[in-house]
């Protein structure tokens, strides 16, 4: 009987998994990258809310002469909020500009107002100025045509536009596709990170030869399950944390619709993440076992990278419908596409459940395949194991 056999004891699996988790949590690099990831997600939620402020744009403006000061003050306050500094001439205005005291200088030229800025034209200010000047000249023209003041005012008063919304929501219409892409990105990065980490962990055990000690103590499958469950647990925790950070961000920025959207779909996302991870994780472990040194990893994990990257691009770029529906049932793309379809209310709950079952069934097969490859290659220390050799379990070198 070889060391590959023997009954798997779940206490041992837990020990192996606990070691994986413990060592990761002790690794400063891992903690830092996790924190960075969380910060990134928090920032991507908070920043748009801060940047795309609906309030008026603020400007510090230097005005040449008292007439221009009056003009600046007449700018519509719902568009721009100007702080005016009066200066005697253009040279003084330019000095302030170059000293970064103001963002724009305003003066009256022969043909109307002239705006000076350093590098970038102050868009909103120009817009506001245009509207004001237009209204001003129109007013002057009407007055010249002899129209009474009351009628002039009425003509110039802004029309009272009424708005009706059929599907009222404070949710930004761009949020749903953005969220879909965010889910796909998270899936991709987290699976990639932990898949690589599994493969590296396995090859390190081979490289350091501790694998001989380990397999003489416990069956090979115990090592595989422990490693996959330990890393999978960490990955899932990271995903849940990221989703929670997203929800906290939505709550903090008052995006109630976004929050409820997240609440309704986070479960699906986490479920499909777990299934997708299970589908690939044992194969990552096998890729690690088929290498005998870290240098070989690039080659042995290449097929897996393709299995991850190709569905990723497909999920991001294929948005037309028949293809997308099919992809939401294809095992490798389903974990990426189905949560997005559910998010967009494009798929019914039974569709989600069916797709989950498809991925689960594939995962069961993939775990078996990964296990077989892992067992056949784990104890070969001379060179890379070919896929054919690992599958047939042909004896390799070693003495």
């Amino acid at each position: 009987m070889s060391a590959g056999d023997g009954e798997v004891r779940w206490d041992d699996v837990r020990l192996v998994a606990a070691r994986e988790v413990g060592e990761k949590l002790r690794s400063r690099a891992f903690l830092l990258s996790t924190l960075l990831f969380l910060a990134l997600v928090a920032a991507s939620i908070a920043l748009p809310a801060l940047l795309y402020d609906d309030g008026p744009t603020e400007y510090d403006v230097a005005a040449v002469g008292p007439a221009v000061v009056a003009l600046a003050h007449a700018l519509p306050p719902d568009l721009v909020d100007v702080t005016v500094t009066e200066v005697p001439d253009r040279a003084a205005a330019e000095r302030l500009l170059r000293d970064d005291e103001v963002e724009a200088a305003l003066e009256l030229g022969a043909d109307g107002p002239v705006v000076t800025a350093l590098q970038e034209a102050p868009g909103t200010l120009l817009e506001a100025l245009g509207a004001t000047v237009q209204a001003g000249s129109l007013l002057a023209a009407l007055e010249g045509a002899g129209l009474p003041a009351a009628e002039r005012e009425q003509l110039l008063a802004p029309p009272d536009v009424q708005t009706r919304l059929l599907e009222a929501s404070d949710l930004d219409p761009a949020a749903v596709p953005l969220l879909s892409v965010a889910f796909v990105l998270l899936f991709f990065f987290v699976v990639f990170q932990f898949g690589q980490s599994i493969a590296q962990g396995v090859v390190q055990e081979k490289e350091s030869r501790i694998v001989e000690l380990l397999v003489s103590a416990v069956p090979v499958r115990t090592l595989l399950y422990g490693k996959v469950l330990g890393n999978g647990g960490l990955a899932l925790t990271q995903i849940v944390l990221l989703v929670l950070v997203g929800m906290a961000g939505a709550l903090a920025t008052g995006e109630r619709e976004l929050l409820s959207l997240l609440l309704r779909n986070a479960g699906w996302f986490v479920l499909f993440f777990a299934l997708g991870f299970a589908l690939l994780s044992c194969l990552w472990a096998a890729a690690g076992a088929m290498a005998s040194r870290s240098d070989d990893l690039q080659a042995t994990t290449a097929p897996l990278q393709v299995l991850l990257i190709a569905p990723f691009f497909a999920a991001v770029y294929v948005t037309s419908d028949p293809a997308r529906v099919v992809m939401s049932y294809v095992p490798l793309t389903a974990p990426l596409v189905m949560p997005a379809r559910l998010l967009e209310d494009d798929a019914a709950l039974w569709e989600g459940a069916l797709s989950a079952l498809v991925v689960l069934a594939t995962a069961v097969v993939a775990v078996r395949v990964g296990e077989r490859l892992y067992r056949a290659s784990l104890l070969r220390t001379r060179g890379r194991t070919s896929l054919a050799d690992a599958w047939s379990g042909r004896a390799g070198g070693g003495s």
């Binding site: 009987m1 070889s2 020990l15 000690l213």
Partner: protein
């Protein structure tokens, strides 16, 4: 008792282990000697199930070695291996627990062993921060931490300083005295001779000698004697029924049975002074070279 019967393993055309049979009795330190590539490591790996034999059986207390037995076996591989980035004590505790030892007991055992192997102060260092000698000690501790019922050590002494060799010797004697069969391979034959009651000599995958060292000595067909004379010993070459191993000046090393030896002595006395006639016990190295010749 560990018993190997007819264990055979080939890699392709190359037969690395060829019909190997021997026993490692309880309470004995058994030395496993042989040239590089003789098949010692593969034999140990077969016992541990790391390598699957093509033929033959390995039994422990009469039953085939299975996962449960391996769990109670301590092993020090030839190519040393521990997690390089893990602290020594935590690593030992982890390995002990994988062998089925409770956390509390595992911690106590790990601390005891680290103290005994002078690694106590390094317990919280990562393995890759240790010197090679200390890594070796940690590896020994890893083989012993679960208080094994059977111990297989592949070159445990290589790379150890003399003090550490003494520590390990003492430790192994103690473990063997506790009834644990210990099999260890070594190239240092003097050490094996000093430490072991039994040896197994492997050459090109085959057992060429196995048993107690004393019995191997006795098994030599003719005992050797040293003869030291007053004058030149050259004439000994002509003595009947005596085979001369070497003659240097007034000394001769001969192989002869009892009668021939008595005749040789009588002749020597007739010829002049006899300073010494003494039996020569062969060292293990000599025996080793002899069985390989």
């Amino acid at each position: 008792m560990l018993e190997l019967t007819g264990v055979t393993k080939s890699y392709g055309e190359r037969r690395v282990v060829d019909d190997v049979s021997f026993v490692v009795p309880a309470g004995s330190l058994t030395g496993f000697v042989g040239a590089n590539g003789a098949g010692k490591t593969t034999t140990m790996r077969v016992v541990l199930g790391i390598v699957e034999a093509d033929a033959g059986t390995v039994t422990w207390q009469g039953s085939p070695v299975d996962a449960a037995v391996r769990r109670r076996t301590g092993y020090m591989p030839e190519e040393r291996g521990l997690y390089p980035r893990m602290q020594v004590r935590r690593q030992l505790v982890h390995l002990a627990r994988l062998h089925g030892i409770d956390a509390g007991v595992a911690r106590r055992r790990a601390d005891e062993l680290l103290e005994r192997l002078d690694l106590g102060e390094r317990a919280d260092d990562q393995v890759d921060a240790l010197s090679l000698g200390n890594q070796q000690r940690a590896q020994i501790a890893a083989a012993l931490v679960h208080d094994p019922d059977l111990l297989l050590l592949d070159e445990p002494f290589s790379g150890l300083d003399p003090v550490a060799v003494d520590r390990l010797t003492e430790l192994l004697r103690e473990i063997a005295a506790g009834g644990v069969p210990v099999l260890f391979s070594s190239h240092q034959l003097e050490l094996v001779e000093r430490l072991c009651d039994r040896v197994v000599v492997l050459a090109a995958g085959r057992v060429v000698a196995a048993g107690e060292v004393d019995a191997l000595r006795r098994a030599r067909t003719r005992p050797r004697h040293r003869l030291v004379l007053g004058g030149d010993a050259g004439w000994v070459r002509g003595a009947p029924r005596v085979s001369v191993v070497e003659v240097v000046g007034n000394r001769a090393l001969v192989e002869a049975d009892d009668a021939a030896l008595q005749a040789l002595l009588a002749q020597a006395v007739r010829r002049g002074a006899v300073h010494e006639l003494s039996p020569v016990t062969p060292t293990l190295s000599e025996l080793y070279r002899e069985v390989l010749a």
